[in-house]
Every structure is written in structure tokens, then in C-alpha cells.
Amino acid sequence: MITGARQGTLSGLRRLVSIAMARDLSTFLIPGPDIARAHGLDFEAAGLHPVASPRHASVLLIVGAIPPALREAAAIIYAQMVRPRVLFALGTETLPPLPAADVVAGLSQQDLIQGIRQLRSAFAEGAFRPDVSDFDAPMLHVRIEYTCPMHPEVVQSEPGSCPKCGMDLLPREAQATAGHTHADHQEMDNSADRQATSTHDHGTHHTMVHDAPLEYTCPMHPEVVQREPGSCPKCGMNLEPREAQTEPTHDHHHMTHDAPVEYTCPMHPEVVQSEPGSCPKCGMTLEPHEMQDTQTQEHAGMDPHRDHSTMDPGDMAFMSMIDVTQDLPRSGDGLPMEWIEAPFGPFFPGLPGGLLLTLTLDGDTVAGSDARSLIGNGDLLLQHLSMDSGSFVERLANRDPLAPVAYRLLACRALENVAGMDIPADTACARIGALERERIASHLGWLALFGQQTGFDWLRRHAASLQLKFQQADLKQILALKPAIQALTKRLQRTPLLESRTAGIGQLAPDATLRGPVARATGISDDARSTDKTCAALGFTPVSREGGDALARLHVRLDEIAHSIALIKAAGAIELPAPAHVGELSGTGEAVVETPRGLARLQLTLEGGQVTATQLDTPSTHHLTLITPLIEQQELGDALVIVGSLDLSPWEIQP
């Protein structure tokens, strides 16, 4: 039995369909393939077939515990999936507002395979059910708010009249608010609507449309408008209903209906006269034009509350690009187009899971952007916490599944700094081994994501499988994998289109706020490992490249993978850092670690062996602020490559 079954009895044909569905498990992954690989899961090998859009998925796979904001977004994704759909959770049972998972399994490849077996039989038996209930959650409801057409600042939740001018307020759908993080606002509405049609909740959207006064107009003659249905007096076509337009910014024609009309030749714009007639130059019939009212036009152009997602061809003059585009905002290239606001994330296939990028697009050019993490990992920033040192190390290590070793090392080093301990040289070396192994795996994971984003399928699969191999590899296995890394690097140097895709994209100048590979790709040889005695003894030299673009960042990461293998070889051992026993110690300490994404710094205060205050500084927090200026006026594909090339970890971004 599955909760997301499709309505219907399980007849013979449907049984066949159910069996086919059980064989074809199209899966949408939450938070993303990066996290699945970080947990050592190879979901494709296990038989799941990843898809890019929740619309095409029948399985929603949730990997590990996810924070509330992501669960809310996941509920919207779940609502977007068409039935029959199943919810498959790995390593977590806390899912609300999502319904209870149909299949729950542990966080290991073995459990995943086991779970998939259960999933298949659940599908084969329960894809159709006569009594299905709808999935409902508060974030799926479209909220209607009321606003004054003349005073966009007047917004209220009840109908009424405007306190400023007394006009009746008009209903509209509330804009996506900060907490609402839809993978696609429009998609979300669809699913809410779809469910509304099949059950009790009659979609708020419908109510809205029907309450608005309707008027009827001819598709060919926009000037024909009447309150009743009928046919056009000019051409006899049936009039089409539309919502009565009273918002001046929405309808230029109605707004300036009383404006004086002048007549001009379509071929000779200099011919202008106040009467209809034909052109003295070419004999064509002159076309009527409203005389431009500059004041209203300016007002319309600047109105920030225009609903850009509404594209109603009905209120535009037939095929007139000037009329269509004249009220639209202009971007840098001066080409006016509809601006649309589209969310990319938090589960976008080409971006790190948990990162929400909201782009205002002018055509396919980015006109504005907002990037933030939905993970909300702020709990360790509390000034007044009290936690014993051992569990603090675990908390910090589990905070970022993309770099657990680096953060474990950071916490251990900070504690040792408070205690004033010195670490034996061989332990320090073995720790470097573990850190560098994580760096290799992390960079490979980045390559896989880059491959996914740019449709470079070979790279995606190859880097992902190498990442899984490196993650738990011992010294011998790592050295055995060295030729594979060399082959990968060589292959990437010869890959056509790779350079044109990344060179000159996302150019950054050397800057002190940059960290890690992003900084080193601008020619800075800034690396926390340079100041580390153990690293220096192992022969560490910072890798750096000139260029500062996405290509340089790609090459820095490739070089670092090779260099890390050399460091691991020199270190000769791999061992996860273990927290020192600090007893009833009090004091403050500080530590830095070069994580795969750059330098992270931790300051902590101990009181009687308890961690009472911490201050954490992470590279992704700094890099997040680079996004908006970097992707301004970039084509969408380039913008996504830029965001990807920064290798952000939403899990380490401080709110």
C-alpha cells in the first residue's frame, strides 16, 4: 500500500501497468545527489533512475535528516509529483509536513537496495487504490491578498476599499514570501489546483477568477469589449471572456482609451495625421495610434509591483512589439522583455542541494538574483550554549555532510588549543591524510555536480564513482587510484567545449575575502596549510593559477586532487581526528583548518569542560555574497556555471 496511490481499482491492465512502474523507478532526490554520495550511496547502481523534474518522478527519495525549511520545500516537490508516487526515506523518519514515508531504510547501500526491493513490491501491489486521500499541507494553499490598483503599497488580506482613494481593492495571488521556497512557484500552484479539483478544497484560484468581473472581447479586434458574451460586430467571431481589466498598468489600451488618436503609416513613421486616410508615400492605409501620454507611461514603467508572470496576449494589440514591450522594465542590453522571477532550488539538479537561488530573468539574462541557504545551521553560533566537548565535536562534524572530517578536525584543534596540547607528529600526519582524502572526494563531488549541471554525462558518472571509491579508501587504494585521476585530468584537458563553457565566466579579481580554491584560482597562494608545520614537513606547496574564472577554478581543483594524493602518500596513514580529553578545563581557544572549500576558523570558550560560546567563520558564507554581482547580466547557463564553480556548501553557510 502506498499513500500516494492513484485512484482506481487494480484491474488486469492496471496490474500490468503497476508492474511496469515497479520496474521503472524515476527518482527525485532530496536534498540532492551530492548528499547521497557524501553518505556513500550509489543510488543509480541500486536501480533508481534519477530525473530532473519532480513532475517526471514517481519516487521521492529523502537522504538523511533534513531541516524544517527543506522539509517544507520537499512537501511542495511531493505535491508536484503525479500519482502514483511513493515517499522513500533513508535514515530519517521526521518528515512533517510530508506524509509518513512509504518505505524507510537505513543510510547504507545495503539498506538502500533492501528498501528498493520493498519499494518495488509496494508499487506492484498498491499503485492503484479505490480510496485515495489527497496530500495537503499549509504551504500548498494559494493565499489571496487584496491590493489597490492605484496604490500598490496598500495590501491586505481581506477585501475592502483603499484607505487612500476609496477604490475597491482587487484580489491577487500573494507573492512567494521569504519562508516559501518553491522549486517553481507556478508548479506549486498547479499541484494545489490539481488536488483541489479532485477533492474538497476548491482551489482558491478558481474562486478568484470567477469573482472577478468578466468581459468579452474579440481576439482579432481588441477594441471590441462588452459585458455579455456574443459575436464580434466586425468579423463575427465569438467573443472570448477575460477578466475585466481595471489596473491601469496592465492595460495600456484601456488606460489611455480617451487619449487622442493619430494616424500613421506603418512603413513611414514620419507620416502622422489626425484623420484616417492613406499614406501619401506608399498608399497604404494609415493605422490609428494613441498619442503618447508620457506621464502614465513613465509611471507604468517604474511600477515595481507589476505582475510579470501574467502574460495575457488578450490585452495586447495584435503583433505590435512596441505595444507589447513598452511598459516593460529595461535591462542592460536595452532589449525589453518580460521579466520573470524563477526559483532555482533548493533541490535544483545543477546546484548544491539546499541552496535556493531566485533569479529575476530578463529573457534568459539574469537581471537580479538572491541566493541563500535553506539549511539554517545557526545553532552552534549561540553565545550561551552548554555542551560537553565530546558532543560538541560530534555536532560540528555532523553539521556539514559535505566536509565532516574538516570540521571534526577544526573542533579537535580548537579544543587542543584551549588545552595547550601538542599532538604527536604521526597522529598529526594521519589527520592530514584523512583531511586530504576528504578534499579529493569533495573536489570529485564538485566535478560530478559540474558534469550534471552542464550535461557532461561522462564526467558526472565518472567523477561520482571515483568519489565513492575515494571516500572510504585506505592508503593503498588511494595510491592505486592515482592513474585514474591522471587519466581524468588528461581527459578534461582534451574535452571539446569545456574551455569555451568556462573560460572568462565568473571572473574574480584577487581579493582578501576569497577563500580556498576560489581564491587560489585568482593567483593568490593563500592556504591555511602553508602555516601548518605538519603539512610543510609533508612537502605541501599551495596550488594556484592565474585567471580567476570558472576554468581556473576547475584546474585548481584538479591540481589539488593530484597534490592531495601526494600529501597522503607522504603522510603514510589515514586516521580520523579524535577529540582530546579536556577535563574540567576553562579558557578560550582558536583553530583554523583548510576545508575543501577554503579556510574555516573556530573560536571557542570552555567553562569547566563545557563549551559555552563559539564563533565559526566558514568559506561558503563569504562566497555566497559573490553570487549577485557575478551573475548580473549573465546568460542563464553561464550564471549557473558561475554559481556552481564557487562550490558552495549550503550546510556551512551561516544564516
Binding site: H56, Q186, E187, G455
Partner: protein, 298 residues
């Protein structure tokens, strides 16, 4: 009879394309996988987005399929196995495939979704890049055959295949055909990692099945067109004509599907720039060279 046979072969071809595509992605030959995927799609709900342009939304997948089938009508698999040997066959292929653009634009506009719309725009831009590189190499092929009849074009390659006679034209046509079929690295309108499926993203259930079938039929039709224009169609020693057609078409299909896996998606700006700056002059050069060859060689 021929019509039914060709349609059946087209369906079989589309199925084989799906099998080959799965192979290029997973490295495994799973003969039944597309069948299960297809049945599963039919069993899922097919929903209409909330504010669709209903006509565009419904028509787009069907139109994509129809345009591929229309183009297949003038493709000869053997000297006799052709639905209609139009006197303007070579141009008809081009004319029928123009509707691919229309279908994708409609699929982009129809659902009123951001990803789909951008996908539609991207393909409109792509057309400006590939369209001339479809027509101009065909022109050179026709010059050699001195006929627009597709059967005559195959016969004209009896001595030397066009891939040898006009290699430049072959390369240009092959690239343009991949761009027309929006295969990687030209999959700008459907880009998975950039647009989460783009024009395909809002289609579900039966409609998605038709859309995907249309895409598969388009790929096999373009591969067949490449074979008759450049690879000597049904001609070849030992094996019967239909076998040569089948082998050549499947090899071309597999090549088309494999190439994109080994490189990132092209930037739209680069595609446009390269097609105009290099593609069109090269296509003109190709026409000139073929013209000289036609005059010089007997």
C-alpha cells in the same frame, strides 16, 4: 501497405533509439527498459498546468511527432520502400522538420512555466544557428544528384558516397541535425541541469509519452536523412538493401547519441556565433567545391 510498413519501422526505430540511449547513459543493454518506462508513463496521471495556453500545450507533443513522421515519408529504406518519392523530397525533409521548432516553442509557451518558456526561447535562438546548415549542405547534395528526389540522391552515390565526395557538407549537416534534434551537447531547450527539463518539464503521463516518442522519432528520422544524403542509403555489398539501411541508420543514431556524453553543453552564444561565423562560410565553400567537382568530374 508501404505506409503501414514504414510507420511500423519508424516505431521500431524509435524504440531502438530509446534502447541505444539507455545504453549510452548506463552502459547496459536493456531491451525491455523503454517498454516498462513507456507503460509506466501511460499509467501515471497526466495533468494540465494551472494557467496553460491549452491549445499550444496539447498540440505541441503531437506536432513534434507529426513533423518527424512527415519527414520520414520521403526517406527511402530500399529503392521501393518509401511512402512517397516526392519530386521535392530533399526540400520536403527540411520543410517538415521546421515544425520541430514550432512544436518546441508551443511546448515552451503552453504551460506558462519559467523553465519551459526559457527552453522555448533557447530553441528559437538555436534555429537561427542550425537552420542554414541544414539547407545549404542539402543544396550541395542535390547539386551532385541533379535531383531533389531522395531515391535519385541515393543512386547518385553509387560510385562514391557523399561523405567522401563532400566531407565538409557531411560534418556541417551532422552537427546541424544534432542541434535540430536537440541532442546533447545541443540540448539547450531541455537542459536537465540548467532548466530541469525545460520544454519537457511540465508534461506528464500520456502527454510526456507522446513528447518523448516524438523526440525519438525525430532522432531516427534525422539519422535516416543523414544516411540517404551522405552514406549511400541502401547501397552496400553482400547484404540486402534494407539491411544496409538499418545498419547505417542505427550506427549514425548511436554516434549522435554518444557524442554528447563526452562534452559539456554548448553555450547558446557560442552556438550562434560559430554557426554564423564559421558554419555558413564553410557551407558556401562546400557548395562551391561540390560545384567545381560536378563540373570537373564526369
Amino acid at each position: 501497405m508501404t505506409t503501414v510498413l514504414i510507420l511500423l519501422l519508424l516505431a521500431l526505430g524509435a524504440y531502438l533509439v530509446a534502447v541505444i540511449e539507455t545504453w549510452t547513459i548506463t552502459g547496459r543493454f536493456q531491451l525491455a527498459a523503454p517498454l516498462f518506462a513507456g507503460i509506466a508513463l501511460l499509467g501515471r496521471e497526466s495533468i494540465v498546468p494551472r494557467k496553460p495556453d491549452r491549445i499550444f500545450f496539447e498540440v505541441a507533443p503531437v506536432l513534434l511527432l507529426i513533423s518527424a513522421i512527415l519527414a520520414a515519408a520521403v526517406v527511402p529504406l530500399t529503392p521501393d520502400l518509401i511512402i512517397t518519392d516526392l519530386a521535392t523530397g530533399a526540400l520536403f525533409i527540411n520543410a517538415a522538420l521546421v515544425y520541430v521548432l514550432v512544436a518546441l516553442l508551443m511546448a515552451g509557451w503552453g504551460p506558462d512555466g519559467a523553465y519551459a518558456m526559457i527552453g522555448g526561447w533557447r530553441f528559437l535562438g538555436q534555429l537561427i544557428a542550425y537552420a542554414m546548415l541544414i539547407v545549404m549542405p542539402i543544396t550541395a547534395v542535390v547539386m551532385r544528384a541533379e535531383s531533389l528526389l531522395t531515391t535519385q540522391i541515393v543512386v547518385s552515390q553509387a560510385g562514391v558516397w557523399n561523405i567522401v565526395y563532400q566531407p565538409l557538407g557531411f560534418v556541417l549537416f551532422f552537427i546541424a541535425a544534432m542541434a535540430l534534434a536537440f541532442l546533447p551537447p545541443f540540448d539547450l531547450p531541455t537542459a536537465k541541469g540548467e532548466l530541469a527539463g525545460g520544454v519537457e518539464a511540465e508534461y506528464t503521463g500520456v502527454r510526456l509519452a507522446v513528447f518523448r516518442l516524438g523526440r525519438l522519432a525525430l532522432i531516427i528520422t534525422l539519422a535516416a536523412a543523414t544516411v540517404i544524403f551522405y552514406l549511400g542509403g541502401w547501397q552496400g555489398p553482400w547484404l540486402p538493401p534494407w539491411a544496409w539501411s538499418a545498419i547505417k541508420i542505427l550506427v549514425v543514431t548511436a554516434t549522435m547519441l554518444l557524442i554528447g556524453r563526452f562534452m559539456p553543453r554548448i553555450r547558446e552564444a557560442d552556438l550562434l556565433a560559430w554557426c554564423w561565423i564559421f558554419g555558413i562560410p564553410l557551407a558556401l565553400l562546400n557548395i562551391f567545391l561540390v560545384g567545381v567537382l560536378v563540373l570537373v568530374l564526369p
